[in-house]
């Protein structure tokens, strides 16, 4: 206890001395020890005068850098994404993909013809593997009765996610006859896109049964991902355990 009091006394003396010392180091310029900060300078480590940031901008200092919250500049598109997989499935060449990435969403009519050709190319691959003349194995109207031109027009010219503010979100819900009203993290978007491409009118044309190639689904499920979380709805990153 004595020791404690002793330490407490010493601490009090120290604090008093410290506070006394501080009285003499305030930055007022009405003292007579020479002005501490009389002239605003561009290297005093504070934002003063007409500076826009700390020691930058204003009439005296050099302009502020980006890290001083300058948002100026012209920003030019490098990538864009609407519906999942559209560019990668239908943008057959690197050149086409690059062009698609820097195109305006509202100005995509030039891509429709290429998309349709790519769609037919998939069928040609399987015609060859199945030893069927390529002219005899072609895209057939899908579950929405879209022919190749309409399908690829919707994929190219109108490539955005549709999201309904007053309707349930689904990429495709056959039961409730809903399509493209948004995209949940859990939606099997690739499976649905493959069904539109290879499923024909009944959606099961090339589903792997009856000797057909399995092209309407990749048979991959979300696995152990948790899609029930609240905002931001995404799981924390995986770590090395």
């Amino acid at each position: 206890m004595k020791n404690y009091k002793n330490k407490s006394y010493k601490l009090s003396v120290f604090v008093v001395l410290l506070l006394t010392a501080l009285i003499f180091v305030q930055c007022k310029d009405d003292d007579d020890n020479g002005n501490v900060i009389d002239v605003i300078s561009c290297n005093d480590g504070i934002q003063n005068g007409d500076e826009d940031g700390i020691d930058c901008g204003g009439s005296m200092c050099s302009p502020c850098e980006d890290n001083q919250l300058n948002f100026d500049g012209n920003f030019v598109q490098e990538d864009v994404a609407g519906r999942p997989g559209v560019n990668t499935i239908f943008g057959i060449t690197d050149l086409l993909k690059n062009n698609y990435n820097v195109s305006e969403v509202a100005n995509r009519t030039i891509f429709q013809e290429d998309f349709q050709e790519v769609l037919e190319n998939y069928y040609d691959i399987y015609a060859i593997s199945l030893d069927i003349p390529v002219d005899e194995l072609n895209y057939e109207n899908n579950i929405f009765d879209w022919d190749a031109a309409r399908f690829t027009t919707i994929m190219s010219n109108y490539d955005a996610l549709q999201v309904a503010p007053n309707g349930p979100t689904t990429y495709y819900d056959a039961t409730n006859n809903l399509v493209f009203t948004g995209r949940y993290l859990s939606d099997d978007v690739m499976g649905f896109t493959l069904t539109l491409m290879f499923g024909g009118a009944d959606g099961i044309r090339f589903d792997g049964n009856n000797g057909t190639p399995q092209l309407t689904t990749d048979a991959v499920a979300p696995g152990d991902r948790d899609f029930t979380l609240s905002f931001p709805y995404l799981e924390v990153p995986l770590t090395l355990e």
Binding site: F75, N87, L178, Q214, E235
Partner: protein, 237 residues
């Protein structure tokens, strides 16, 4: 089959082969953007836990292995990430929500009417803005302000697809079988992370939705009105 036709097909086949080396959900994009800080991996838009809200999620810079690669991944101060909302049905953005990194945070602007549409933008600094500290692999930061929520940082990749088998299909190595049956398929993204940006906004800030595009273009009736939305990345010149 005529030889010329066959050659044409083989040519097309080769193009497909080349193409699908860069594949899936935009995850692994074409050469000009692949592996850069502006490379979009995937995009989601859905009704929030609050049904009066819409959520926008963009994943970028996929694919990140857990550990050092994820810990070192960072947003680029020169890349503007833009959620675009068309509420009139012409596929031109009527509103944007912008996100850009400064320091250890992401600054969000909007939803706001852009002063330019299309391929070029400037940061709309006079719009309502919100700031969220960038989350780390260990700590999550969320900003909830003005009935909106904001997040930016590394997350587990939510996308799933048998990417490798798709390459096989394009190569002809999976013909005539196609994809693997359940149990034999492999989710390429199951063990990977991405950088993510997420925003939840009240629908009242997004205007009325236009007629669903598939009503007119897809000859499907009975669909609810729907915004057309997309995400873009734009680099400072």
């Amino acid at each position: 089959m005529k030889k010329t036709k066959l050659l044409t097909i083989i040519g097309g086949f080769s193009l497909l082969l080349l193409s699908f080396i860069f594949m899936s959900l935009d995850h692994i994009d074409a050469t000009n953007v692949a592996g850069t800080s502006s490379d979009i991996a995937d995009f989601f838009a859905f009704e929030g836990d609050n049904p009066d809200n819409t959520v926008f999620v963009a994943t970028i810079q996929g694919i990140l292995a857990p550990g050092v690669v994820t810990e070192n991944a960072s947003f680029d101060e020169n890349v503007l990430i833009e959620f675009n909302i068309d509420n009139t049905g012409d596929f031109i953005e009527d509103l944007v929500i912008q996100a850009i990194k400064r320091g250890d945070s992401i600054y969000f602007f909007g939803p706001v009417i852009p002063n330019r549409t299309g391929l070029e933008s400037d940061v709309l600094t006079s719009a309502p803005n919100h700031i969220v500290q960038i989350s780390t692999t260990e700590e999550t930061f969320i900003t909830n302000e003005d009935d909106m929520s904001f997040f930016a940082g590394p997350r587990r990749d939510p996308s799933y697809f048998d990417f490798n088998r798709f390459i096989d299909i394009a190569n002809g190595d999976a013909a005539p079988e196609g994809f693997y049956p359940p149990g034999e398929s492999t989710d390429f993204f199951v063990g990977l992370n991405v950088l993510a940006i997420a925003v939840e906004v009240p629908n009242s800030l997004l205007g009325n939705a236009p007629q669903h595009i598939l009503e007119s273009q897809g000859t499907i009736s009975g669909l609810p009105p729907a915004y057309n939305v997309w995400v873009s990345t734009k680099r400072k010149e």
